[in-house]
């Protein structure tokens, strides 16, 4: 609270960035400990959570006041004009302080109180149980078991306590392998495909220059491939772009690693062969000494695959470019599309999608297990593993299943939410929209498969809202260990039960749940299937959206159908009852009323009324949203107003002549 100097400013103007008329709303701005609140003259409230604020800018003073532009992480951009510069300065400084907290304990989640008692809160946290989820997948089983190696976070701080590994992988092997992998993130199970008996595993990159090779790591990989009784071949997917890796390779000193990771395919690659000529000679020498080639034999059942997903820095600047382009008012076609192209955003989305499709195909077509890694194994690896599982398993396409998927592949495996979302005042270079990309990939899937998902777009947008809001504990911290230290489960609430309570809003009315568990989605990644996600990046720009929502109307109809069917049944059973009792009319009527306090016809007519009213209501609301003044048809608004004096003076002229 010590940061707040001014709590209330009156006569503040709010500008709409896509409206042509430069029309503004005048209202009062309030600054609270957690939110910035604007109430306009129609009593409409705009709440902005401090944690959502990504950037505050004070622009040069104008005649009408001091402009204050606030950019939010949920893609809201608000433009206030504060009449007095001093107020503007106060608010600006307060927001600068409030939007960047130094300590976790100052985040909203630690003060947020939704009026629940401790047991309710605990139950909320227990809603998603990952042990239960692994059981659902069919592990532990004869090939996979729960390892207690990381029980105390001794092997890997950024992994969860419970990890599933091949049964034949002993603890020394795990420990050895973890020393060979960056941040100790050794290969573990992410998803088990019960039907194909194949697994998705994840890890980080092998450490360069540590040692020539690591037998334990080789053993662990062998164990993973042996845990698949159907196909001994396994894929190692490096999600980084090949061209980057080639230059990186050239600096590598250890040959053992290369042999481990290079499949016959890569050996045939001319470029690699040249750049690694020297190392290959080394390998020949090793072979002469009776070493080296054993490796290649050992790993002959590994196929190596690059998929080119760029790193977090590329992604961050890509999104930045995208937002810059689309934030402009009155874009021309060429601005829009060349901006979309040069941002590369859709290309990156496609790369993630392609990787996930490759993964899903390896499992469904070849029944092969796949080991996925990138550098640290918490960004691109999380994207590919979770999206791949989503393609494979219809459970993850339900509301609950999607929560489980996020808990498993993102939260528990240590995607650094706090750093990537910039929850605290930290290194801006660590911020990156990795999770946003994942949500966008899921959105593209919902567009291609409108019936495959139990949830709708709003669900994805809502989750995106809360990864930044710091209102719930789920996304705070960077790994499970940190979360335990923060005692999040005791001090904060879980997001999921709140979303479940509200699930009516997030249901896809077209969802067909009949599809069996392993219905695999096979998305088509032809380039025209990748579209700009307006409802995410312009979610607050009301004027850009369709004026009527199909989803709402279908959901309503569905509900009415159910209600009416229920009514019919009720009435039918009542008729039966009445027929069974040969009494006179009055008594029957009484009976009806006693069974059903309201008259059934009244009830249904109410229902109909609501239904006929609904579209009209909707239309009324839409018209409010669909005002010609809100739309940029052209500069005609000025033309129309310009024309006015012309006509008037003409009339004057006529008047004078008649005089």
């Amino acid at each position: 609270m010590e940061h707040i100097r001014t709590t209330k400013v009156e006569q503040v103007k709010l500008l709409d960035r896509f409206s042509t008329s430069n029309k503004s709303l005048t209202g009062t701005l309030y600054l609270t400990a957690t939110h910035l609140l604007f109430i306009d003259s129609h009593q409409k409230e705009t709440w902005i959570l401090h944690h959502h604020i990504a950037l505050v800018e004070k622009l040069a003073l104008t005649t009408s006041g001091c402009p204050l532009v606030i950019q939010c992480k949920n893609f809201r951009i608000v433009h206030f004009i504060v009449p007095r510069e001093r107020d503007c300065h106060d608010i600006y400084n307060s927001l600068l302080q409030l939007s960047k907290q130094a300590k976790y304990e100052d985040l909203y989640a630690f003060s947020y109180n939704p009026k629940q008692n401790d047991s309710e809160r605990l139950r909320g946290w227990q809603l998603i149980d990952l042990a239960e989820e692994y059981k659902r997948m069919g592990v532990p089983n004869s090939n996979w078991q729960l390892s207690d190696a990381n029980r105390e976070y001794k092997i890997c701080e950024t992994y969860p306590r419970e990890l599933y590994v091949p049964r034949i992988a002993s603890k020394p092997i795990i420990v050895g392998s973890s020393k060979f992998r960056s941040k100790g993130r050794f290969p573990v199970l992410s998803y088990y495909h019960e039907h194909k008996e194949a697994a998705i595993c994840r890890c980080s990159q092998p450490l360069s220059g540590f040692s020539a090779r690591c037998l334990e790591d080789e053993h662990l990989l062998q164990a993973i491939s042996k845990a698949n009784p159907v196909n001994r071949y396994m894929y190692v997917m490096d999600t980084r772009p090949k061209h980057r890796m080639q230059s990186w390779w050239a600096t590598q000193k250890d040959i053992g690693r290369i042999i481990v990771r290079i499949s016959s395919k890569i050996w045939n690659d001319e470029k690699i062969r040249e750049s690694d000529e020297k190392k290959r000679l080394n390998a020949m020498a090793n072979r002469a000494a009776g070493k080296g080639y054993e490796n290649e034999d050992n790993y002959s059942n590994i196929r190596f695959q690059f998929v080119g997903i760029e790193n977090i820095h590329v992604m961050r600047s890509s999104l930045q470019k995208l937002l810059e382009v689309n934030g402009t008012k009155g874009l021309s076609v060429s601005d829009f599309y060349s901006g979309l192209e040069s941002s590369g955003w859709l290309r990156h989305i496609k790369a993630v999608m392609d990787a996930a499709i490759f993964l899903a195909k390896a499992i469904t077509v070849e029944s092969a297990s796949v080991l996925v890694h990138c550098s640290d194994g918490w960004d691109r690896t999380s994207q590919v593993c979770s999206l791949g599982s989503l393609l494979l398993d219809s459970y993850y396409r339900t509301i609950k299943g999607f929560m489980v998927l996020i808990e498993k592949d993102w939260i528990s495996f240590g995607h650094k939410f706090s750093e990537r979302c910039g929850h605290l005042d930290g290194d801006p270079k660590e911020v990156s929209p990795v999770f946003t990309q994942f949500l966008e990939c899921v959105w593209h899937l919902t567009e291609q498969f409108p019936q495959a998902f139990e949830f709708n777009e709003a669900f994805l947008v809502q989750i995106h809202e809360h990864i930044h809001s710091c209102q719930f504990g789920n996304f705070l911290g960077n790994c499970q260990k940190e979360r335990e230290e923060l005692k999040l489960k005791e001090k904060t609430y879980s997001l999921w039960p709140f979303l479940l309570d509200d699930q009516k809003k997030y249901l896809n009315p077209l969802y067909t749940s009949k599809s069996p568990k392993f219905t695999v989605l096979e998305p088509n990644t032809v380039s025209f299937n990748f579209k700009f996600w307006r409802n995410m990046y312009h979610q607050f720009d009301r004027t850009l959206h369709p004026r009527q929502s199909v989803f709402n109307i279908i959901t309503n109809m569905n509900e009415q159908n159910k209600q009416l069917e229920k009514d019919i049944k009720d009435l039918e059973s009542k008729i039966k009852q009445c027929k069974n009792k040969p009494t006179d009319g009055i008594l029957t009527k009484e009976l009806i009323h006693s069974v059903h306090p309201e008259s059934p016809t009244l009830k249904t007519s109410l229902c109909f009324k609501e239904q006929t009213l609904l579209p009209v209501n909707h239309a009324l609301r839409t018209i409010e949203g669909s005002n010609p003044a809100d739309n940029r048809y052209s500069e005609y608004a000025e033309e129309f107003s310009k024309s006015e004096p012309g006509v008037v003076s003409l009339e004057y002229g006529v008047a004078r002549m008649t005089c």
């Binding site: 025209f528 018209i623 669909s626 048809y633 003409l650």
Partner: protein, 543 residues
């Protein structure tokens, strides 16, 4: 000339490939005067496959040692491949298709032979003429009358027999005004907006010429337009050319209304693309859509390069401008470009769709297309002679009508509950405008249609479409009448490529079609429960 002269080989064995999704079809290929048929063997279960030759846009042949491959690119953007046994046969068939698909004569075209079951000739032809619209206008205002000055098409060959004009202007003045307008297209009523008492009027450019000619009757006509509207109404002339193009038109005898000559009217220039550049934009877009291998970047570059969405945006915003002028500013609007048969109609028809709830119904939209496009003299035969695949040098081709349909589709996407018809109707109109067994889109004007006796000798598309069995395809199940104007957003973020048309034959249709089927199911479920409800409650009093 007999068709048989053009048919070199009637029959051949062939295999038909219909794109990546549909399975290939094998059978006997037959060529008739109007159709290409593929009849699968007697044991096959699939039905006879039929293609109207008129819908072939371009044909490409390749021969191997003992067979030939013909690639047919259709006007509805479908690409078909025929593998035909025998080199000679395949070449003959290719040549015959080429000759038959490009026949110029109207009265030997298929609509004059098409006699479907269940339809009667002459049905629905009198559904929509201007007289019908005039009845509606007459209920709303007394300032307009129906003139038969064009009874014999002598005043304006591209107008229908009856047009709606200001009551105070007599037929003689109309005829003189017609001489001052290109092609005789003098200002006529397009739409009367009752809530504001203003009107939408369309015409062609005035023949001002380099001498800055004037025409008293034309000036009087436009004065009468303003006088008929609410008192003190102003007028805007929306010229669909740039001001420079309008000035240049003066050199060739055209031009614009001089400010001094038309008091109360103010001119706005909203340049819309037309003619060849529009056709090229269409061709380039279709080319880009056909390339499945390209990267996301190159796709975006080509989407930008073809400018199609820019044309959509411009057309919509000009229509909104006209509509806004009427509804919000209470002004009368006159729209014209040069000839007044292309972008003019685009603007007036879209503006009506935005303002008029009736034109958003199934019947109302059909009436709008009939009145504002067909009867208003959009030269369909010239504009739709070829679609995007033709190698022939474009002469008069331009996808203006397709642009209109695309704009309607964008409106429907932004107001998914406000149009009674769905994408199906728009797709059907696109298909039939380019090649159709019905006579509705034949010829370039009412006059030509009368000469060819289209009305009495062919079936109307409207009666074909309004058969009950077609309804599920064409209707929007979610329609709920919306009495208000629908103002679309024309920001690029709100406009989308019409995938249902441009990618119709390229992407697998299933998921979205299945989803649409589900929507229908939900809606019909609702109707069913709604119907059964009263019967149950009706049984109540009997107890």
């Amino acid at each position: 000339m007999e068709f048989s002269d053009l048919i070199r080989t009637r029959r051949a064995q062939a295999k038909l490939l219909r794109g990546p999704e549909a399975p290939p079809l094998r059978g006997t290929l037959c060529l008739t005067g109007h159709h290409l048929l593929l009849s699968p063997g007697p044991q096959a279960t699939s039905e006879l496959w039929l293609l109207l030759l008129r819908s072939v846009d371009s044909i490409e042949k390749r021969v191997a040692s003992d067979s030939g491959t013909i690639t047919l690119r259709c006007k509805d953007l479908r690409v078909l491949q025929l593998e035909i046994e025998g080199v000679e046969a395949s070449l003959d068939i290719a040549r015959s298709i080429e000759a038959l698909s490009s026949l110029e004569s109207v009265i030997t075209s298929f609509p004059f032979f098409y006699r479907p079951k269940g339809l009667r000739l002459g049905d629905a032809w009198h559904f929509h003429p201007p007289e019908r619209y005039y009845k509606r206008v007459a209920r709303e205002t007394n300032a307009w009358r129906l003139s038969e000055v064009n009874e014999d098409f002598s005043v304006c060959p591209s107008y229908p027999r009856a047009v709606i004009v200001p009551r105070s202007v007599d037929d003689g003045a109309l005829a003189r005004s017609a001489r001052f307008r290109q092609g005789g297209r003098f200002p006529v009523l397009s739409y009367h907006h009752a809530p504001s008492g203003t009107v939408l009027v369309r015409s062609s450019q005035p023949l001002t010429g380099p001498q800055k000619r004037r025409c008293a009757e034309d000036e009087e006509l436009l004065r009468a337009v303003l006088a008929g509207a609410r008192p003190g109404a102003r007028g805007f002339i929306v010229d669909t050319r740039s001001s420079q193009a309008a000035k240049q038109a003066r050199m060739t005898g055209g031009g614009t209304e001089a400010k001094a000559a038309y008091p109360g009217w103010k001119r706005l220039h909203r340049p819309l693309e037309r003619g060849q550049p529009l056709q090229e934009s269409f061709v380039r877009l279709v080319e880009a859509c056909g390339d499945l291998q390209q990267s996301t970047d190159s796709w975006l570059r080509r989407l930008e390069g073809c400018c199609w969405l820019a044309h959509v945006k411009e057309a919509l915003s000009t229509a909104c401008l006209a509509a806004q002028g009427m509804e919000r500013e209470g002004a009368c609007i006159l729209v014209h470009g040069a000839e007044g048969t292309d972008s003019t109609l685009l603007v007036t028809s879209l503006a009506q769709l935005i303002l008029d709830p009736l034109s958003r119904t199934m019947a109302g939209f059909q009436e709008l297309v009939e009145r504002e496009w067909i009867q208003a003299g959009h030269p369909f035969q010239l504009r739709c002679a070829h679609s995007a695949f033709s190698h022939a040098r474009p002469k008069h081709e331009a996808p203006t009508f397709l642009l209109f349909l695309d704009c309607v589709w964008q409106l429907g996407r932004q107001f998914p509950l406000s149009l009674e018809f769905g994408e199906g109707l728009l797709l059907a109109l696109f298909e039939h405008a380019y090649a159709s067994p019905f006579g509705t889109f034949l010829c370039n004007s009412e006059r030509e249609r009368c000469l060819c006796e289209v009305r009495t000798r062919t079936h109307s598309l409207w009666s074909g479409l309004n058969q009950p069995k077609e309804q599920r395809k064409l209707r929007n199940p979610l329609y709920a009448p919306n009495p208000l104007a629908i103002w679309p957003s024309v920001e690029l973020q709100s406009l989308r490529l019409w995938q249902g048309l441009f990618l119709r034959w390229i992407r697998p249709p299933e998921p979205s079609e299945v989803a649409w089927e589900k929507v229908w199911q939900i809606v019909t479920d609702k109707e069913k429960t709604k119907l059964s409800q009263p019967t149950v409650s009706a049984s109540e009093p009997q107890l």
